[in-house]
């Protein structure tokens, strides 16, 4: 039985990158779409897919798998999560979207922070009690280092 929703319960959107489960706070999610046609931007990093037209608004698309160095799954179910946080509105390509996940803040475990090369903060893990899967809670702000993005292609010329 899942615990009843309390104040400490937050809702996350669970998705898969390769075979691994990740989740981001639902509040940051604006909508989910299938992978649209994109236009590539010269001199952008590998994880930067390009720009797309979201009902008249031009937004950037980023491949979360490349960004985190995860092998993409074989399935062709790619989906794009449109997230909105701070002043940014971005599309994030993921392998597939699972479900909305109520997360009991108490059950989030801090694992020893893993110093990856890019110093991403992926140190919060939630264990789903029923299926016994581990879900990594992603902090978009640090994964999508904004400075890095705005500096995109400054090296262009």
């Amino acid at each position: 039985m899942e615990k009843e929703m309390t104040d400490v319960t937050q809702r996350y959107l669970e998705f898969k990158l390769g075979e691994e489960h990740y989740a981001i706070p639902l509040l940051q999610v604006r909508e989910l779409i299938s992978l649209p046609e994109t236009t590539s931007v010269p001199f952008s990093p590998k994880y930067y897919v390009g720009i797309m037209n979201l009902r008249g608004q031009v937004i950037s698309i980023i491949d979360m798998r490349t960004r985190l160095g995860v092998q993409p799954s074989e399935s062709n179910e790619e989906a794009v999560i449109i997230v909105e946080f701070g002043e940014l509105c971005l599309g994030i390509v993921v392998d597939n979207i699972c479900k909305v996940l109520p997360v009991d803040e108490d059950k989030i475990q801090e694992v020893a922070s893993i110093e990856t090369k890019k110093r991403d903060r992926l140190n919060r893990v939630y264990r789903h009690s029923e299926t016994d899967t581990l879900i990594q809670l992603v902090e978009l702000e640090s994964i999508l280092n904004i400075d890095e993005l705005t500096g995109l292609a400054k090296k262009a010329a």
Binding site: T39, V41, P42, F43, G56, V58, E87, T150, K154, A157
Partner: protein, 662 residues
């Protein structure tokens, strides 16, 4: 402060700025001597009163208190106690500046407090001086009257609240209460003998009181236009009375003259956030794309009815697009009234007599452009007064011109552009003087021979200022080059024409909107890029005759004897090199600093594109000025060619050999 209150206050500030602009315009019109000054005084009174009421309602006591004082003075003008003179207008303008200062300050810090004592004293000095000295009415207020007033003011001041800074609730109440009564008493006391005037007062006050009630009610409901009718009717009675008692014949022709001149009641407006308009524009853009897709399916549709509907939809979509684009357009009016003020202040400071003529203030332009246009325009207009016109009236008379200098600011549409001209009938620009100056400053060599027009254009060179002494008005050495750059930043151009002895014209040409540009859709590999058309001088196909490869640097194109460095766009953008493409096209780009050629795989078409700013994430990306959504719904990047090649050109220039090839 709760959110609602804050919102009210912000609303007020927005509105206040609007009111102030109107106010200033009226002051200036009054000064320039309009046919029906009473209308303007009424209008100003209404505005000040409106401001007072609303500022009180939202508890900006400093503003309220100050506008109250201002209103008093306007009232005195209205009653004829104070003649409208340049000095009085000066005070009014100072008031309006002070108000502006307060409003802007409040916008930044909602809790800000302001000191208004000094200016209040000034206001009072005007009133009391005239009151005490009737003869002053006739001429302009002499300066010494101020000294005299100090004493009077001291007395006067005692019953007013002393410092706005520590204004308590009670004091506010007091002022509130004393407002109507006090004014009335004062008014009656000032002119006890004159029956008709006090009658008038009562009429006016009756009206004013009624307005007040309106104003204190929900602020959001206040609309300046609503007050037009009651006051107008009072005004009629007022003039009727005048006619009756003073038997002034003038009133009739005046009204007759005023009637046709008065524009139809201004269209009601609502304020909309820019983000909303932007969103609407986005959706409309999307609608247009969908509509295009639908039209292309025309062949598949067999049903006549559906086909008709589709073509009807196309028409309506076009209309909607037009309207949504126009939403960003605002008239130049406010900017021009600012210029009016600049001309006035500048000419006054310099002791020059200037007649300003404004044409086309209703011409509309994109709001974003307008914002960035203001500074350069101010500079040019100031220059026209300072440098353009002869130093003194005598100088003008000596060459057979009228005593007053003429300055004309004119705006009009020309094709898809907005043109603003600033004309002066001054002494013109002397190419010889400019040439000498430029040599002196090392901008050109003394051996250089340049045409007169080229010499005149040197005023746009960086660090050029001809005025001998750096004056307070203009000439800080940052002059025209900054103006030129600012205008170029909004994709505009400025040019100057001058005839020695009879004046100069500055002509600014701007795109009507920055939201749409004329673009050329080009293809590089499998991607489309948009190149702004204004930079492209001509296009030609690349052939073996006109293209030379230069080592591995790239190549150059020879066009009518001119050798220009050529860049492959695919290389500039880091695309994989293509196999030999026989149909490459060269775009000849001419800019201020250099001419160069960009080679693309193909040019698809020319079309107007709506510029979408890139998200914050890639805003700073070099080489792209934005993106646009093409007809197929796919976004394409709009290239900033200058930025793209800027580094490369430096490299090429180092290899000086490039110019000698061919």
């Amino acid at each position: 402060m709760d959110e609602f209150e804050l919102e009210l206050k912000m609303d007020f500030l927005e509105e206040a700025i609007q009111l102030l602009e109107d106010c200033e315009e009226s002051f200036l019109e009054l000064e320039s001597g309009v046919e029906n000054p009473d209308d303007h005084v009424d209008k100003i009174f209404r505005l000040a009163h409106n401001l007072k009421g609303t500022s009180r309602a939202v508890e900006f006591s400093d503003v309220a208190e100050f506008t109250h004082e201002m209103e008093e003075l306007i009232l005195k003008v209205k009653k004829g106690e104070v003649e409208i003179s340049a000095d009085v207008i000066d005070v009014f303008l100072k008031c309006s500046d002070h108000l502006n200062h307060m409003i802007v300050g409040l916008r930044e810090d909602i809790e800000a407090r302001f000191e208004s004592d000094e200016i209040i004293e000034l206001i009072k000095s005007v009133g009391s001086a005239d009151f005490e000295h009737e003869e002053l009415k006739i001429s302009n207020l002499p300066e010494e009257s101020e000294d005299f007033n100090e004493e009077v003011v001291a007395e006067d001041d005692s019953h007013e609240s002393e410092d706005s800074d520590d204004l308590e609730e009670e004091e506010l109440e007091e002022i509130f209460a004393s407002d109507e009564d006090g004014e009335d008493e004062e008014a009656l006391a000032t002119r006890p003998s004159n029956d008709d005037i006090s009658d008038l007062d009562r009429l006016l006050y009756g009206d004013a009181a009624g307005e007040e009630v309106d104003l204190i009610a929900p602020v959001s409901a206040v609309k300046p236009q609503e007050n037009v009718i009651p006051i107008e009717s009072v005004k009629k009675e007022e003039s009727a009375k005048k006619e009756e008692k003073k038997a002034e014949q003038k009133v009739e022709p005046k009204q007759a003259a005023a009637a046709p001149k008065k524009p139809a009641k201004p269209e009601e407006t609502i304020r909309i956030g820019v983000s909303r308009v932007e969103k609407l524009n986005n959706y409309v853009g999307e609608l247009v794309i969908l509509q295009t897709v639908l039209s292309e399916c025309d062949d598949l549709v067999i049903d006549d009815h559906v086909r008709k509907s589709v073509s009807h939809l196309a028409k309506i979509t076009k209309e909607i697009q037009d309207i949504s684009m126009k939403m960003r357009m605002v008239p130049l009016k406010t900017t021009f009234s600012k210029l009016q003020r600049i001309v006035r202040d500048t000419s006054k400071a310099l002791g020059k007599k200037v007649n300003l003529n404004i044409v086309g203030e209703d011409t509309e332009v994109d709001k974003n452009i307008l914002e960035q246009l203001s500074d350069p325009l101010v500079h040019i207009v100031r220059n026209a007064v300072d440098h353009g016109l002869e130093a003194t009236s005598d100088d003008r008379l000596a060459v057979g011109k009228s005593e007053k200098g003429e300055i004309q600011i004119k705006a009009y549409h020309e094709g898809n552009s907005l043109v603003i001209e600033v004309n002066d009938d001054g002494k013109g620009i002397d190419p010889a003087v400019i040439r000498n100056k430029a040599i002196e400053k090392g901008i050109i060599k003394s051996t250089d021979k340049i045409a007169d027009q080229d010499a005149i254009n040197l005023i746009f060179a960086p660090g050029f200022s001809t005025k001998e002494a750096v004056s307070e008005i203009s000439g800080r050495g940052v002059g025209m080059d900054v103006v030129k750059r600012n205008i170029q930043d909004i994709s505009g151009a400025v040019e100057v024409k001058s005839v020695l002895g009879s004046g100069s014209v500055f002509r600014i040409k701007l795109p009507l909107t920055m939201a749409i540009i004329e673009g050329m859709v080009t293809r590089v590999g499998s991607e489309n890029y948009v190149v702004p058309l204004n930079l492209i001088h001509e296009t030609l196909s690349v052939t073996e005759e006109n293209y030379r490869k230069v080592n591995n640097v790239g190549g150059c194109v020879v066009l009518r004897g001119q050798v220009m460095p050529a860049f492959r766009l695919s290389k500039l953008l880091g695309h994989k090199p293509q196999e030999d493409n026989k149909n490459e096209i060269a775009l000849v780009v001419r800019t201020e600093d250099m001419d160069f050629v960009i080679i693309v795989d193909d040019v698809l078409r020319r079309q107007q594109v709506v510029i979408k700013s890139l998200g914050n994430d890639i805003k700073n990306t070099q080489g792209f000025m934005g993106s646009s959504i093409l007809g197929n719904g796919k976004p394409a990047l709009i290239l900033d060619l200058k930025e793209l090649v800027v580094d490369k050109v430096a490299k090429v220039k180092n290899k000086s050999s490039i110019r000698n090839v061919a």
